[in-house]
């Protein structure tokens, strides 16, 4: 009999424990969940690197500490991944997308294959901005942009191809600010351009500051002009927009650099509940204040500063709201395929 009594008490306790759970204070939002970050590139690139760093540190700041996994969905400069997150992924707050920052410009110039509207994503924000600089070989006599307008012969700039900052940035400088540059494009990657600089096949390269920094530090090249988005290191450099006087050129240049402020865009599918989005905003904000996180990012050569989703969405809307004649000029210089 005693056994019966004991076991019924246990059963009762278990039942109570079970029933009590839903009645207890509300579960943390992400308890026991898994968040997926869909990256539009294969492992090995900057977008993947940042995503994996985020996947390790963000759970600490999300209520319920979910597991975050990174999935790679490469192809078409991450248009495939963006189409997927826009139309297929569930807006349950558990899927994030990390895409090419230039997708918004692609949408602006109506590139084929784009089946999303960047402004309609639920914007989480961007944990890092990207700064573009034009660097030239240190043994050249030119120091300022003005020197470069008088350069003779033209300074040869190596580039990958249209749609990349290695190409678009010097192209605008050449066309609008009249720097005497000769752009040779077709290099497979920015690393290959650096090797071409080293063997004096080309004289310089434009590209992200973080990837150029090691070469600046070791004295191979020096920065001459930067884009709008900036980091303290090179804030003193002349900005591309200052080199042109007419408003239209300024606007075109600003358009090109706008996505760089949202250097690593993170979005959620349209219709993701507001409550989740706000939690992500908080979590990202706290994460970029985490010392350990910053130390690791710094080791990987990443400059972290969070642009919150609402700001990022505003920048996106501004870009997409550019007037038709500006878009027309811009399309002459920019192509996204």
């Amino acid at each position: 009999m005693r056994v019966w009594a004991a076991s019924s008490i246990i059963v009762a306790l278990v039942l109570v424990a079970f029933l009590a759970v839903p009645g207890r204070s509300q579960q943390p939002l992400f308890a026991g969940k898994t968040v997926t970050i869909i990256v539009g590139y294969n492992p090995g690139g900057g977008y993947d690197l940042v995503a994996r760093l985020v996947a390790r540190y963000l759970p600490k700041y999300l209520p319920g500490n979910p597991t975050i996994v990174v999935q790679n969905m490469p192809g078409a400069n991450s248009v495939i991944a963006a189409n997927h997150v826009y139309a297929v992924a569930k807006p349950d707050g558990l899927t994030l997308g990390a895409f090419n920052r230039n997708l918004v410009l692609g949408q602006l110039v109506k590139a084929p294959g784009i089946r999303f509207d960047m402004a309609k994503f639920a914007w989480i924000g961007s944990p890092a901005s990207e700064t573009t600089v034009l660097t030239i070989r240190n043994d050249l006599p030119y120091r300022t942009p003005a020197d470069l307008t008088r350069a003779d012969p033209a300074v040869i700039v190596g580039a990958t191809g249209p749609g990349a900052s290695t190409y678009d940035f010097p192209l605008l400088l050449k066309a609008l600010a009249k720097l005497n540059l000769r752009i040779i494009s077709g290099y497979p990657s920015s690393a290959d351009i650096m090797l071409a600089v080293e063997r004096k096949e080309v004289d310089g390269r434009a590209g992200s500051y973080s990837s150029t920094k090691p070469f600046i530090d070791r004295g191979l090249v020096r920065p001459v002009v930067r884009g709008r988005a900036s980091v303290p290191d090179i804030a003193q450099l002349p900005m591309d927009e200052d080199l042109v006087s007419d408003v239209r050129s300024k606007v075109v240049m600003r358009l090109r650099s706008a996505p760089e402020i949202i250097g690593r865009p993170y979005v959620a599918p349209p219709g993701t509940p507001e409550e989740y989005v706000r939690v992500y905003w908080d979590a990202f904000t706290k994460m970029v204040g985490d010392r350990e996180f910053l130390a690791e990012a710094d080791k990987a050569g990443l400059e972290m500063n969070f642009t919150r989703g609402d700001q990022a969405a505003q920048i996106t809307r501004d870009v997409l709201g550019a007037s038709p004649d500006i878009v027309k000029v811009f399309s002459q210089f920019f192509s996204f395929n």
């Binding site: 997926t36 869909i38 996994v69 990174v70 999935q71 790679n72 969905m73």
Partner: protein, 158 residues
């Protein structure tokens, strides 16, 4: 000598090359140069090959390539049937992957092949199918977190 369908392969390549050349019409020189430089000799070579195959001229030397040769131990008729069925299984595998998604398609395919084509026993078929599924879900899904799409049947139903 009986004409072998060999010339069809060469002809198909020639047509491909011709199409590739036609496509380049509207492109700027930067875009079109490389495909033209490559497709033009391809077209010429493929036409030569077509012509030579049609003439039935296949000198013994041509039979020597730096590659493996298909088995000749099976009679041509049987070989033909087995080839078709092997391709059918592969295409079928793709079809059920699309319909059911990888995680369901794998045990289904392994079981179906072992039981249907391989004529293995029930035990062997079931155990191996389960094993294939287990390795798949542990290694690729749990450990590597690869995104495997759901089957069409599931996505459509929703």
């Amino acid at each position: 000598m009986r004409r072998s369908p060999e010339f069809l392969l060469a002809l198909a390549v020639a047509l491909l090359a011709a199409w590739a050349l036609i496509e380049t019409r509207s492109w700027s020189i930067q875009t079109a140069l490389y495909p033209r430089v490559v497709a033009a000799p391809l077209l010429v070579l493929a036409l030569m090959e077509t012509f030579l195959s049609l003439k039935g001229e296949a000198p013994a030397e041509a039979a020597q390539t730096m590659d493996f040769t298909l088995s000749t131990s099976i009679t041509p008729g049987l070989a033909q049937r087995r080839t078709v069925s092997a391709f059918a299984w592969l295409v079928g595998f793709l079809a059920i992957v699309v319909l059911l998604g990888f995680s369901r398609a794998i045990p289904v395919f392994v079981f179906a092949y072992l039981k249907g084509q391989g004529k293995e026993s029930w035990t062997v078929s079931i155990v191996l199918a389960a094993l294939a599924w287990l390795v798949f879900s542990l290694l690729f899904v749990r450990l590597l977190h690869l995104p495997f799409a759901e089957g069409l049947l599931w996505t459509l139903r929703k």
